[in-house]
């Protein structure tokens, strides 16, 4: 693999993990009755920016390298399901995340000051942060499975 694609893959993994950690931080903070708005705004911005960077770097690698060089190796190996299930699910579920992260960020930046007084809103924000966390963890685990099966 040439250094360019290696860099893209590393950026995809690192920013994906940063985004997952940041959204988990948002989830934990919104479970508190009086969350820190400054932290929530910052963490939601980091989540969105990380997912966007991970989306573009991973997408470029996936479209121009994975399909020709990695996919045939996985399909010919012992674990073809790693591509047919894990990669297929991962690549499409990953498309949800930037839109969901942007929606969460919009709520926190425009209405975040109401979280301490509006319990319903705080619980709904926690629900969305929880959904994004679950999907981000799934995408991360699928990435580990795909990497393992390509070796």
């Amino acid at each position: 693999m040439i250094p360019f694609f290696k860099t893209l893959l590393i950026a995809h993994v690192i920013f994906g993990v940063i985004g997952t950690m940041a959204i988990y931080g948002v989830l934990l903070a919104t479970l508190k009755k009086t969350p820190s708005l400054k932290f929530l705004k910052c963490a939601s911005l980091v989540t969105f920016a990380s997912f966007i960077i991970s989306w573009f770097s991973g997408g470029y690698y996936y479209v121009l390298y994975y399909g020709d060089m990695v996919k045939p190796r996985i399909l010919a190996g012992q674990y073809p399901w790693a591509h047919k299930i894990a990669t297929e699910a991962k690549e499409h579920i990953f498309l949800f995340l930037p839109f969901m992260a942007l929606a969460l960020m919009a709520v926190l930046w425009r209405m975040g000051d109401q979280l301490t007084t509006n319990e319903v809103l705080r619980k709904r924000v926690a629900l969305l942060a929880g959904a994004i966390t679950i999907l981000a963890v799934f995408v991360t685990l699928a990435g580990i499975v795909i990497s393992g099966s390509a070796r």
Partner: protein, 122 residues
């Protein structure tokens, strides 16, 4: 002390600034639309090859096509909602947050089950 709104207080509070919540509600609705479109394009595209080929021919790769069309639909819904919604308040925000969370999880489970089914039948 934390104040929690109930009953008439909540109704008054929720209805206070409909213009302020238009952008947020538009983005939430746009995200719901994008998630549903990606799921439908993926499942229908795998069952009906011409659709997948169309996305591939138009955007180099079907995955890129799904992302582009999800982004286009997202922008259309956001601007459509901002310009067209007559009534937008925080009660709708609460509902849309719940709907987006549920739609995303259901769509993800549907995609996983679909690919498991496809794998076990090929």
């Amino acid at each position: 002390m934390v104040n929690v709104l109930h009953g008439s207080d909540a109704t008054f509070y929720y209805g206070m600034d409909s213009n302020q919540s238009k952008l947020v509600n538009g983005i939430l609705l746009g995200a719901i639309g994008a998630v549903i479109l990606v799921t439908l394009l993926t499942i229908i595209g795998d069952l009906y090859a011409p659709l997948k080929n169309l996305l591939k021919d138009a955007h180099y790769h079907h995955w890129v096509g799904k992302g582009v069309w999800a982004a286009v639909l997202f922008v259309i819904i956001v601007f459509g909602y901002i310009l067209g919604a007559k009534n937008s308040n925080k009660k709708i925000t609460d509902k849309l947050l719940k709907i987006l969370s549920c739609v995303a999880i259901i769509s993800a489970v549907a995609l996983i089950l679909f690919f498991v089914y496809e794998f076990s039948h090929t």
